[in-house]
Symmetry: C2
Subunit: 573 residues, 2 copies
């Protein structure tokens, strides 16, 4: 095995303590992270920011080299920064067959390595990704449109957290059973029956990661690392609009694999031209046995229905819902919710869309507020939050692509617009496409068809209901039918909170209660919060839990009799 | 919660030590069982055998009552003993919609109970099933055709072992995450952000167990108990030819559920007339979210393709393969293999079918034996094993149904019959349909179409190959393409054994090596051997492992801020 060569680094020994801490953290579920989220010099070093930006700039308008990667040709540049410039980067071009064949050809020694070795390699990849957080932050900012600090945190350390979390689950699950055991069954007559048994975790086959435009690393790392650590080669298929963050990731993974003595083709990049539709071809390749996907409900459903040879893990779209019943901190509620709607222009799979509130109003520390008054108060809170253009740009980021912009335009015709979306000028990037959130007032009965669709982007609806009970019924029905990644409730009544918890259990969605401070419904913390539930249509997987990893490998067994008498005889001979 | 009522038994407290031992056993994988396999009076008591037989006899030609079970009408008797008499038992008749609705209606408190409570109830069910082992043994014998001792062991204690194993995995997996945790994230300024979080395992929904004719309890209990302990109601849909063993099981489960304060409809029986095709209707019901199935490849594949709303766990058919390379105990090899082919007339999903041997022969302690000589020697070993009719009947059992008998007839026309199947007269049951195994000689190239189909029943092929390398290539190819539940190799060469282990890992099948004594390839021991691998087409699940249980529930989360300042203020007021 490669890891035993004396000249090769022992990455498992280097990261063993970290891996053990990570496994313990999945069980404790307190705050835990080894990757600091602050992009400060005191943490990442004096030159990290400068070097990371330079590394990003060096890639622009050039070819992204991946040493030893298959594919002679190049994929023409597909990426444009939402801040207003083309990245101009070309990537190696591989056919679907080439990518799958190269992954398969590389998989033997990777499968033969044990889970410790694979987890060690994965932890080293994550360590180097962490060191490259500034480079990745720029790549994420200029492909997703996230503001820089968010791109650093969500695209860097938080994504690395989610990756390590998947490593921890994958490593622990493979070690649930011993590598070897002796079975000894007493017999009524004579000595026991004795067998020696071996147990070997074996990966399912070639894995494909189909990544998204908005969170290429955060949503991509869990599947990538879960597949890798369970012994599978991984073909990374980035969104044509967000290749660079994953190309950097693949480059680093291949470097570490090579140093550890493995074929770097255990991790491959399958960039495509827009319109290539290579994701569908990869998904149907008979040797592709695992697929991780983040993106549209339409393509996710297609994958689940058609990629029958593969274990398919999807995160799709849903109707994130907030139930407003009462509060003793109305100002905190408004501020918290305004920030949730504004963060990255609502282009998060976790951003609230449907705000359910009794038409006649809710009780607050500032008196009863009707649905109309609440809609106006929320709009005012948004105006206040986004009043300063520089600060607004830092919260909103930029609109990731034309699809979101067009949807925002269509939303202006829906219900009664309470707060219109407006452009914001970026202080440094005049061509950046930045828009503030739109808030529309809908009715629970009349506008059902509108709010039971997902409006991905900065679009939210204040929906008037008969009562909180009615709101909870809508939450149950719409989330059960259409899915959701988040739900939230505001109430001062323990009874209502209990009812909301029950409704969320019925609908299969995670619930946040009374968030009025520095925690937001659209944020989830690795090692503590589950992201997605696999219990409603928005996702077939949870990042991360044992179910996310157990289908990626099988534990195969061999057994052989132990014959003590024969052994004795042979010793006598 | 029901379990807290003072008058109700605390089944979890009663069985906690057993559950903890069971979880430890899944990790140790040594021999372990709490359910003695010997049907002796010293173990099960003086009257157990007599009472069990009487309980079975009392059911014949009557209606099987299930107190409080939905369904006014009755399913006419469908069961005939392979030993030559009709059971004449009618069962409650429920429609698919009634069964699913009753399960769903019963599920609330069962979901609300915690994993400890559910595991305690399951362990009590298993304890009572164990006490009913003799009754179940007669029910299994006279529906499957298994000889009595096998019906007792495989249908009773060994099935209970597999049930408890599933309970252990299901219980442990739900406890991987705490019920509650406090998350505290330090902030650069001010106090930490603090949230209290709750984590609740929630079952996926109504589960359906579609059981088989040959091992209704052994193959049925893992899915039944895995679904139950993860919080799901279970509709048990027995094979029309083997209802009674599962009807007794359902009766006992309902008794325990009722005593524990739950709605007995958490477990339901959905007996059907032959030709009702209710399995397909149940499988497509939108509220059915979990399906466990043992049976034909055709229906298993149909379930996997069509029951898209459900998590589907199948055990189907395959090409169980033995690679013969060399041996230092030829006599032991022949005796062991002859018993494997004869046990329950080869009507086990684990019975070897394809015996691959170099045409020119293998090295043995009795000289080189060619493929033809081996076929003759194996036939002679079968003749010897089955020479005495009473002993033969005790090993062979009876032919379960006409399908197996007809297949056996067809096999007489295949290749060159080396040993013909013959009837055996049962000393006590003159009408029993008993047949000895057929052995046919095939060629690896010429007869590929024949041996790449499954011939379920007492049909095996001695297949001449070019070499052991060729045999291993055939194992890789045929098992990868068509699946297998078992594989075996005989060799005195460590190199060949290594090659065979690698071939088995490639093909995704568990491997037995050099079995010449009292362990047989078609037997697998709960808590030590995995049954099925989910890594080849014969099965999508392993009995049991974490992957078998993690898809049956989701862990849902709620979170709420903790405001220490507010709490202090309220304490001061």
């Amino acid at each position: 095995m490669p890891q035993n060569s004396p000249e090769r680094p022992d990455f498992f020994a280097r990261h063993r303590a970290l891996l053990e801490e990570a496994v313990a953290a999945t069980a404790a579920r307190d705050h835990w992270t080894p990757y600091p989220e602050s992009p400060s010099k005191s943490v990442y070093g004096e030159d990290a920011a400068k070097n990371g930006e330079a590394a990003f700039q060096d890639q622009l308008d050039g070819h992204f080299e991946l040493a030893g990667h298959p594919g002679e040709r190049r994929v023409p540049a597909t990426e444009t920064s939402p801040y207003g410039f083309a990245l101009g980067i070309t990537y190696p071009r591989v056919t679907v067959d080439e990518a799958v064949a190269a992954g398969k050809a590389a998989s033997g020694p990777w499968r033969a390595a044990d889970p410790d070795t694979r987890a060690g390699v994965a932890a080293e990849i994550l360590a180097r990704l962490n060191a490259a957080s500034f480079e990745i932050a720029h790549a994420v900012q200029h492909t997703t449109g996230q503001a820089f600090v968010m791109a650093f945190q969500a695209g860097g350390p938080h994504a690395q957290d989610r990756g390590l979390e998947a490593v921890a689950y994958a490593w622990a699950e493979q070690k649930r059973h011993p590598g070897a055991a002796r079975w000894s069954k007493p017999q009524r007559k004579g000595g026991p029956l004795v067998l020696d048994k071996k147990f070997t975790p074996v990966g399912r086959g070639v894995a494909v990661l189909i990544a998204c435009n908005t969170f290429p690393t955060w949503n991509g790392y869990p599947g990538l690392f879960a597949s890798l650590v369970t012994g599978n080669p991984v073909v990374v298929k980035p969104h044509p609009g967000a290749v660079l963050p994953l190309a950097v990731t693949v480059r680093i993974a291949r470097e570490v694999l090579g140093e550890a003595g493995f074929d770097p083709n255990v991790v491959l990049l399958a960039a495509e031209e827009a319109g290539d539709r290579s994701a569908g071809c990869l998904a149907l390749h008979p040797d592709v046995r695992i697929i991780d996907f983040t993106g549209s409900t339409e393509f996710g459903d297609w994958l689940e229905s058609n990629a029958r040879q593969a274990a398919v893990y999807t995160e799709k779209a849903g109707l994130n819902t907030v139930v407003l019943d009462s509060t003793d901190d109305y100002r905190g509620l408004l501020g918290n919710l305004a920030f949730s709607l504004s963060l990255y222009s609502g282009q998060m799979c976790t951003t609230p869309q449907n705000l359910l509130i009794p038409r006649d109003g809710i009780t607050t520390d500032q008196g009863v507020r009707t649905a109309d008054e609440f809609a106006a108060d929320l709009s005012a809170a948004l105006d206040k939050l986004l009043g300063d253009p520089a600060r607004a740009a830092g919260t909103l980021g930029a609109i990731v692509n034309d699809g979101v912009r067009e949807r925002l335009d269509r939303a202006a015709a829906v219900g009664r617009t309470v707060r219109a979306s407006a452009p914001v000028e970026h202080p440094e990037h005049p061509k950046a496409v930045i828009r503030t959130p739109l808030v529309a007032r809908l009715d629970a009965e009349a506008d059902r068809e509108t709010y039971t669709r997902e409006w991905f982007g900065p679009v939210s609806f204040v929906i008037g209901t008969d009562s909180t009970e009615h709101s909870l019924r809508i939450l149950r029905e719409t989330v059960s039918a259409h899915g959701a990644l988040t739900a939230a409730v505001h109430s001062t009544s323990e009874e209502v909170l209990d009812d909301a918890e029950l409704a969320a259990l019925d609908a299969g969605v995670h619930l946040s209660e009374n968030l009025t401070g520095g925690v937001f419904v659209n944020q989830s913390a690795a090692f503590s919060d589950f992201h997605g539930s696999a219990a409603n249509p928005a996702a077939s997987a949870t990042l991360s839990d044992p179910a996310f990893v157990t289908g990626r490998f099988a534990t195969l067994q061999s057994r052989r009799p132990v014959a003590p008498v024969a052994a004795e005889e042979s010793a006598d001979a």
